[in-house]
Subunit: 180 residues, 2 copies
DNA sequence: TCAAACATGTAACAAGTTACATGATTTG
DNA sequence: CAAATCATGTAACTTGTTACATGTTTGA
């Protein structure tokens, strides 16, 4: 399981409440690991029981008191252990791959419409990542190691979007009869 | 859920037993959808109950009798329905992304070793896909629609491996201090 | 002040994984 | 003929999803 470890990484960067973590999993971390708030709260509970994190109740002036979680020494040790461990490949599950392969047994025109929409979404997301890279990392060569890691993971997101754009374009082109 | 539908696609191409399906999910279909035999048998049972497939016991000369599954009209209708349905993005879960981002909180040298191994594996897999493409699809332009779909999904696997090779190479290069 | 949104959950269910089981069958 | 493999499963557990609950706070 890597949700625990994704949370450990995020909390190592900066302590946070459950809600703040949820927001991070909707944004930056969400680009390579998704989780809903229900999952996050459940796992936070388990991690606290296991002693990987501690919760501190922080009363706030004009907001309800929130629990802020921070990584313990045990949590840090676990994260170190996990990072050094050999990584098994993530399971592959591509719904679009299944649909493309099965197109002959369904409505190909409807699928092509869907794929055009997917291509659109991936193109938009690619632009977003390019914008974020330019805004937050104007000079990648000047980054320290930790900053470089964040930048390179964003690069991964960008390359992934390029993969999608290539694949979808190739499929759409191959199945679009040219009208002379 | 798409495992049902991946099975429907596979059985539409050709009827098969549970074991044969398992083999397909270890090979061609496995390149974009993974499933273990336990999952497959369980889902086959449910699909039979739902009337999407029928099982025919086929006694074989010198082998034990196997159950061969085939898609029913109801199964075909369901597959058509599902293919035309708008596709929600698959959840993103990249263990290596989490590790790359957390490298500062662990043993970076160990991670880089792991990543070099991953790069190796993806390079091998890329070669395999290139070999399969050359062997099975020497003339892509000559394919019919169904054949083209199979070819294009293989192309997707190839492009995916190229994504991995790019990302891993970029990460490794960025974290490899040049020795002058 | 009422409605919407926020923060923090619980419960029930579905999907996926790991470990084990059983009989037939080929092979060394 | 014993060991390994194949084909077909069952059971228990973990992870992930969907639907609901409850109190707080901000904004129209």
């Amino acid at each position: 399981m890597a949700l625990e470890h994704a949370i450990l990484v995020s909390l190592s960067e900066r302590a946070a409440s459950g809600a703040e973590l949820t927001r991070r999993f909707d944004a930056s971390i969400g680009y390579f690991w998704t989780a809903t708030h229900q999952q996050i709260y459940r796992v936070l509970g388990r991690m606290e029981t296991d002693g990987w994190i501690t919760a501190e109740s922080v009363p706030q002036p004009d907001r309800p008191t929130t629990k802020v979680y921070a990584v313990t020494a045990a949590g840090h040790a676990e994260l170190r252990r996990w990072i050094a461990e050999p990584t098994a490949p993530d399971p592959v599950r591509s719904t679009l791959g299944v649909k493309m392969r099965g197109a002959s047994y369904g409505d190909r025109a409807a699928l092509l419409d869907d794929l055009r929409h997917q291509l659109d979404e991936h193109t938009k997301r690619h632009s977003l990542y390019e914008f974020l890279a330019a805004r937050d990392f104007p000079d990648p060569a000047a980054l320290d190691d930790a900053g470089r890691d964040i930048y390179l993971v964003l690069r991964g997101g960008l390359l992934m979007e390029e993969f999608w754009i290539r694949w979808l374009t190739e499929y759409l082109d191959a199945h679009t009869k040219e009208i002379p």
